[in-house]
């Protein structure tokens, strides 16, 4: 698989505090990857390390096959770190013009990115008159300047109202298709990321807690089996010889067993004469699983 970001043992300390601790990241190309973690988990520090704004104390890192901060990598990377970097006294167009000149992009590039973020009508207004949502969209437009292959967005929905969050989500969802860019999207809100990201990276206290497909976070196999039977008491007794911890809750039986054990469980119940209506892998709620990951030491 082609990776746009690959780190190994990436570590960064501030004084005695280790903010990023041996991070091994693999961000696949041509996808949206959510970078999740609570506030203070080390997301912005990791992003700063990827962009060369900070220097790692240990470990290696490659962005688009180059070391962080390498001009060849930066030329193909667009980013919004923390809040959008905007000159309030200038118009949206003038802000974009500054970045266009620095990246050596063609003049029509300004109109292209304004169109992508739907700001063409307000481009000639001073940025100080922009709403928070418009400022965030302009920040994304700045990151899109020069058609980057990799887009790194740090909490792009921070401070937005629900409508603004929805707009931003739609914009991010469209980006890989319309621009061909891979998106690395940081957030502390699972709900926000799971709707757009195909892959997730979860960190907490600077350490990697999960990396893989979004659906894998709450995948079957991590929960157990859930059963609906006519007589839960009789079923519990029948399942005792199998040795799986089980409990009855809400009229169902919850069995701590791998999905592979389902046929044995079913056979055992049938043999004992228990009427079995439903046997399914327990699907852990993403939010619950995310919180579990954060609680792990």
């Amino acid at each position: 698989m082609d990776f746009v970001i690959a780190t190994q043992g990436l570590t960064r300390r501030f004084g005695a505090r280790t903010v990023v601790d041996g991070l091994d990241l693999r961000v696949p190309a041509q996808s949206i990857t959510g970078f999740l973690g609570p506030n203070g988990a080390g997301k912005t520090t990791t992003i700063s390390l990827l962009l060369g704004l900070l220097k790692a104390h240990a470990g290696t890192c490659e962005v688009l096959g180059h070391p962080p901060g390498h001009p060849a990598a930066l030329a193909q990377t667009g980013a919004m770190v923390e809040a959008p970097s905007l000159y309030d006294h200038l118009t949206g167009r003038e802000n974009l013009e500054i970045t266009r000149l620095m990246r050596g992009a063609a003049r029509p590039e300004v109109d292209r990115v304004l169109g992508l973020v739907d700001l063409a009508r307000d481009a000639r207004r001073p940025v100080r008159e922009y709403s928070l949502g418009m400022r965030q969209r302009l920040g994304v437009a700045l990151a899109l300047m020069g058609q980057p292959r990799l887009l790194i967005l740090d909490e792009p929905t921070n401070g937005l109202d629900p409508a603004g969050i929805l707009d931003m989500r739609e914009l991010i969802r469209r980006l890989p298709g319309e621009t061909g860019a891979s998106v690395f999207l940081s957030s502390h809100l699972l709900a926000e990321v799971e709707q757009v990201a195909g892959n997730l990276v979860v960190i907490h206290r600077g350490r990697l807690r999960y990396q893989g497909p979004t659906e894998g976070l709450g995948a079957p196999g991590q929960g157990g089996l859930v059963l609906r039977v006519a007589d839960p008491g009789k079923a519990l007794e029948a399942l005792l010889p199998l040795g799986f911890p089980a409990r009855e809750e809400d009229g169902r039986l919850w069995l701590e067993a791998a999905p592979g054990a389902a046929p044995r469980v079913a056979a055992c119940l049938v043999e004992a004469g228990c009427a079995l209506y439903e046997l399914a892998p327990q699907r852990v709620n993403l939010e619950t699983r995310f919180l579990d990951l954060l609680e792990q030491r």
Binding site: F14, T44, S48, L51, G52, L53, L54, K55, G69, P71, A72, L74, A75, T77, A79, V81, E82, A83, S85, L86, Y87, D88, H89, L90, E94, E97, I98, T99, L101, M102, R103, G104, L142
Partner: protein, 253 residues
């Protein structure tokens, strides 16, 4: 277009409708207006100073070089760096595929361009205001010595290079309006005190500007040879500032 060319054009966009630009425009306008009013209402009393166009130019260029230009350089450099800090611009600027020192050099060049703009305005305003002052017969203005004006303007332009280089570095390193203003005024005052003592004074950022204090002593000529020392000092300040800026690769903690 070269990297520096692109960055300098980007600097020009940033300076549109900005505080540094306003400072650069207002400084020569305010000084000329203030001194013109002072001249106008001084009436016969000013005759003791042998007024006229020459004195008008001398007074303005002395005030400009000893006070207004150091203060203007300090303010516009500080305001320009402050503009970047307010915009949290380094998170965007430093992830562009450009060498870090180029950002610093473009910034310094932008500051120097603003100081030059100020001085072009001063050069244009002085004969205009002088023409108005001719309407007051007590001032004995006489014809404008334009060659003298151009000499003063050229000397002043050379003197501004070291000031721009120094304040570009100072405001990057030690932000704050009061720091910048205090450095400008204290530096100018101290250099003026030292101006006659040692030729080494030319290597100070205010060294060449302080020499303008001698223009009232008309038997003396401006020490043009000091310009080499001043420009060399400015060059050294730019190199050190750029190295310092590039060395500080971390923008957040």
């Amino acid at each position: 277009m070269s990297t520096m060319g692109r960055l300098f054009r980007a600097e020009r966009v940033k300076l549109r409708k900005s505080w540094p630009m306003l400072t650069a425009v207002l400084a020569p306008v305010c000084q000329t207006a203030f001194l013109a009013v002072l001249f106008w209402f001084s009436g016969p009393r000013i005759q003791a100073f042998r007024p006229g166009f020459r004195f008008w130019f001398e007074l303005n260029y002395a005030a400009w070089n000893l006070v207004l230009m150091p203060v203007t350089a300090a303010l516009l450099c500080e305001l320009s760096w402050e503009q970047e800090r307010d915009a949290r611009a380094w998170n965007l600027l430093l992830i562009q595929p450009l060498p870090r020192h180029a950002h610093y050099l473009a910034k310094g060049l932008g500051h120097l361009a603003l100081l030059m703009l100020s001085q072009v305005l001063l050069l244009l305003l002085l004969p205009l205001a002088g023409a108005v002052l001719r309407l007051q017969p007590d001032l004995l203005m006489g014809p404008p010595p334009l060659a003298l004006l151009l000499r003063f303007a050229a000397f002043s332009a050379l003197a501004s290079v070291a000031l721009a280089a120094f304040h570009t570095w100072l405001s990057m390193r030690a932000p704050g309006h009061w720091v910048a203003l205090a450095a400008a005024l204290a530096g100018s005052w101290m250099t003026l005190r030292l101006a006659e003592g040692s030729p080494l004074v030319q290597f100070l950022p205010w060294g060449l500007a302080a020499q303008m204090g001698s223009i009232f002593e008309r038997w003396r000529t401006l020490p043009w040879a000091y310009a080499f020392g001043s420009l060399a000092a400015a060059g050294a300040l730019v190199v050190l500032g750029a190295a310092d800026f590039s060395r500080h690769r971390e923008t957040r903690a």
